[in-house]
Amino acid sequence: MSVAVNPRQLIVKLIFISTAVVILMRLLFLQLFEDKYKVMADDIAIYKKVVYPPRGTILDRKGKTMLYNRLAFDLIVTPNKVGKNLDTAELCTALGIDIGQFNKLLQKAIIKNGYRRPGTFIEQLSDEQTARFKENMYLFDGFELLERSIREYPNPSAGLLLGYVGEVSPAMLKRDRYASYTQGDYVGMSGLENGYEEVLRGTRGVYYYERDNYNRLTESYKKGQMDTQAVAGKALQLYLDAEIQEYVEKLMKNMVGSAVAIDPKTGGIICMVSAPSYDPNLLRGRERSKNYAALNNDYKKPLFNRATQAYYPPGSTMKPMTALIALDVGVITPSYGYPCGGGYYACGKRIGCTHSGGGHAANLRLAIANSCNSYFVHIMRLIEDAKKFGNVKKGLQAWHDYCWNFGFGHPTGIDIPYENGGIVPDSTRYNRMYGGSWNSCTNLFVGMGQGEISLTPVQMANAMCIIANHGYYYTPHFVKSIGGNPRDSILAPYLKRHKVTSISDSSFAVVALGMQDVVTHGTGKVAQLPNINICAKTGTVENKAAIDGVAVKMQNHSAFVAFAPRENPTIAVAVMIENAGYGATWAGPIASLIIEKYLTDSISSKRKYLETKLMNANLINPYLPKIEAAQRYKDSLRYETRIANKRQEERDQYVRDSIIIRRYFENMYGKKLP
């Protein structure tokens, strides 16, 4: 029945279909070939909320809380989301600031993080500010609260060990370890907070929500399939005894120095004091940066962990190690004696000895008990010149290797960051210093712990552990268990026993007896405790400093190392007090008080006078501000010199280049450049 079909009905159909095709092509392009719309849709409608889990807490060996968390809110601003309809006046009232401050804070946030990224507006709001902000939250477009847990410290001690928490810095973000962090995240900046960051921080929770066009959260995105639950950080239990730590910090409050006590059976650190210490509560909260700057500028350098970073010549506390090396090399026997008459003259210049009485170095035990300098410089020479090594360089190298095994010259691997390794000189060093022409007379001082050797207090305490254990040690460390698990894989390196020397048991026994004599009738009688056999060694370390360009001999460092009880040692101590005097006068009492408190849990009334004496002492080197200022000045000069050198180098390069260009021009064209 189709008569001639009207061509116009076909045209109309064609118009319908072609329009639909055009729309479909456009849709194809929009939906399949453009990715940006997906990103934009997620950007406007999906809100990513990061929840910071509470950081792990830290307990001492008795389960006493060393730090805990308090909930606080940071006010976060995203500048480009701060809309015109923000009720600025209301926000200012809620926060208790004026409009000027508001603008300044906003500027600061913009400068720090730019317009698009959320940045901190006010850190750690007070409870009142938080409450008032929450009341009118919907008025404050672009502002939000971020839950943080901040640290609180019940005791004002152990600041350096625990470390502090702060906002991650741009420099840190570049390092692999902090790759998963973003600007504004909090991170452990030092001490255990930094060493165990990965354990303490827990797992950040990430929750995705949908939000509507008024920026209100409506519901969780995809029913929470993409969310990550926040997992609280694990608690650390330490070997540290909070009570002893606080006690020793108190004893040393007017001193500059360090005291370290380690349990030789585990390598667990019982206390580690770097005096002067500071209250860790200073480095939290809003005042952190101000307080940090003050501490950083203090000439006594309270932020400098002397226990792991400061270098001290060990002085006479080195002598037990020298004796052990000599015994093992075979150059002496326990009965070997040296006829010291108050000095050592074999190398020409006199090396003084505090004792001159006949027979004070008649055998090894006596020599240790009386700390005879002559004896130990002599056996040092014997070690270096021992026939079995062939020459002095090989002899020194052998001595160096023994020292290395004692844990000197390299960081021990303690679980807080920024540890230094100390210096143990080897032949290369003397070759450089003396152009290759040196002999055992050149460096015999190192046998009595003076001269080129430098150790950190931790290394000295660790060496005591090795003697106490008759030849092995565990890497000194703080953490006993992570989240209740003492065998956590992170702790594996600290559970490994390091058998470091093949020195015989009998040698250790003899040296230990000698060290016991130090306390019973030698130089360290002050450390004597009833019913406990303490092995110790005093040290009095000579040192010099440049004051106004002149090398001035400073008051000696007072050093003391010990372990106890001799039969079954459970504590090893090293104390070093800068510019205090004799080892037995200052460092000795501190070490013995630590041992007494650790082993008996109290201080006997007879020894209370020591506490009083120590607490009332003022042993801070009067030259210290000057030395410190000079050091800072030197550092700044060094920095300026480096910059100036670099500039000079650039200028020189420029001059060289222009000369070359001139020469080249003259040669090529036969005329001078204008």
């Binding site: 116009r8 109309v12 329009t19 194809l28 719309y37 849709a41 409608a45 949908e210 409506t218």
Partner: protein, 441 residues
């Protein structure tokens, strides 16, 4: 052949009805998905558009049944009367209308409001059909062509007075019907050329466009050189066309954009073109500085494109449309309802939807062409053309192909006036189709 089906329901075209119900169902689901919140106490809440739309559908179906029971001659007999009533309502609206969303096109009776402009489309379609199909009408004469155009343009002009330009433009769809009934091809060509020229004069620099027009003229002259030599009329026509093009692009378009159109309309057109509004066309404030337009239509289209574009191939899934569910697209259950489909069901869903629309329109054309009576055929074309215009412009504006003029997506958009008028439109056609054997005129 249809003798067995004595009941009118037996003679209704099932396929059209099926497509109608599919589209209405998709519409209901879309409106539901846009407003759904997982926190809602119940999915059946009277405050939701979804439930209201269901009620509107009920009313529409009731009206449909009434229409099916009405004599098919009723529609042609009373066509002019309906048209007059429609015009009357439109005029009343100018004075008594309520302001809804910036337009003045709603007539309110108590809490109930409707848009006479939507309903009068049906009346216009009926009247136009009656006029074109009447034996006295000879559509080949210029006079009757003008009368035919007037039928469409009269309500259009009144609606423009109501500030509802979008709805007014819909009446231009009737020219497609008139084209089918014998409007010369040249009209279509001229209309198409004018649209192209308008866009060109907006997109291309004035002086460059002048050279292009002159170039095209010379090019044409070269091809028609023989005719030009032979016949001076051709020369005049060519010169005339060239002059009109130049005048149109250099004078008329700038004049309309500067003085006739309102700021927001200019904004919308430029926003569709993806260009900044040139300074010449921006409205100036009293002190001579440029008034920064809020560019809300730009925001609409951007959000709409984001919602549709983020759908991808398969879409985000039903009730998972983050943009539509969270109110980012303004007017998303009325003019921008397509976003809900595009976002949740992606390209495939959109393809199916567009397929349904095209099927419905082609089916209606098929119904129209099989009518014995000219009235029914022309009315069928009216339905298809109006549907097509709404469909094409609405989808184009959601994806940035056309300026945002507020017209609904037929059968999908939320709104009683729109759903009801399209339903009646289709039901009347089905009624006429059911009686196609009986009707001669």
């Amino acid at each position: 052949m249809a003798k067995e089906n004595t009941s009118v329901f037996g003679r209704i075209d099932g396929l059209t009805l099926l497509l109608y119900f599919l589209l209405v169902l998709i519409g209901l689901l879309s409106v539901f998905s846009v407003e759904y919140r997982s926190t809602d106490p119940s999915i059946f809440m009277m405050s939701k558009s979804f439930m209201k739309q269901t009620i509107f559908l009920g009313i529409a179906l009731f009206v449909g049944i009434v229409i099916f029971f009405t004599d098919s001659k009723f529609f042609s007999s009373f066509a002019y009367l309906f048209y007059a009533i429609g015009l009357f309502l439109l005029v009343i609206t100018i004075f008594a209308g309520k302001d809804v969303k910036g337009s003045h096109s709603w007539l309110g009776v108590g809490s109930f409001a409707f848009q006479p402009g939507e309903v009068s489309k049906i009346f216009t379609a009926l009247a136009l059909s009656k006029f074109l199909s009447s034996p006295e009408t000879n559509f080949k004469t210029l006079k009757h062509r003008f009368i035919g155009a007037a039928f469409a343009l009269l309500p259009c002009a009144i609606i423009i007075l109501q500030d509802e330009t979008g709805l007014a433009l819909v009446y231009f769809a009737f020219f497609l019907v008139m084209y089918r009934e014998g409007l010369p091809n040249i009209v279509l060509i001229i209309a198409f050329s004018l649209i192209v020229l308008t866009l060109a004069s907006l997109l291309i620099d004035k002086s460059i466009l002048l050279y292009i027009i002159l170039g095209v003229t010379l090019f044409a002259a070269y091809f028609m050189r023989r005719a030009l030599k032979r016949d001076w009329v051709v020369r005049i026509i060519l010169a005339g066309v060239c002059a009109v093009c130049i005048l149109f692009s250099q004078v008329a378009v700038p004049f309309v954009f500067k003085h006739v159109m309102k700021g927001y309309q200019v904004d919308r057109i430029y926003s569709m073109l993806g260009r900044e509004v040139p300074e010449d066309y921006q409205s100036k404030t009293a002190d001579g500085t440029l008034k920064k337009s809020a560019n809300s239509s730009d925001y609409n289209v951007t959000q709409s494109k984001i919602a549709i574009g983020s759908g991808g191939l398969f879409g985000k899934g039903f009730l998972n449309g983050t943009s539509t569910k969270n109110d980012f697209v303004p007017e998303q259950n009325t003019d921008f309802i397509f976003c809900a489909v595009g976002e949740q069901f992606g390209f495939l869903g959109s393809l199916i939807l567009i397929g349904l629309y095209v099927s419905l329109m082609l089916r209606i054309l098929h119904l129209a062409e099989r009518q014995r009576s000219a009235f029914s055929r022309i009315y069928g074309y009216c339905v298809a053309s109006i549907l097509f215009f709404h469909f094409a412009i609405n989808l184009s504006m959601t994806i940035g192909l056309a300026p945002v003029i507020g017209i609904t997506l037929p059968l999908l958009s939320y709104g009683g006036s729109s759903l009801l008028s399209f339903s009646i439109f289709i039901f009347i056609l089905l009624r006429l189709d059911a009686d196609r054997q009986a009707m001669i005129r």
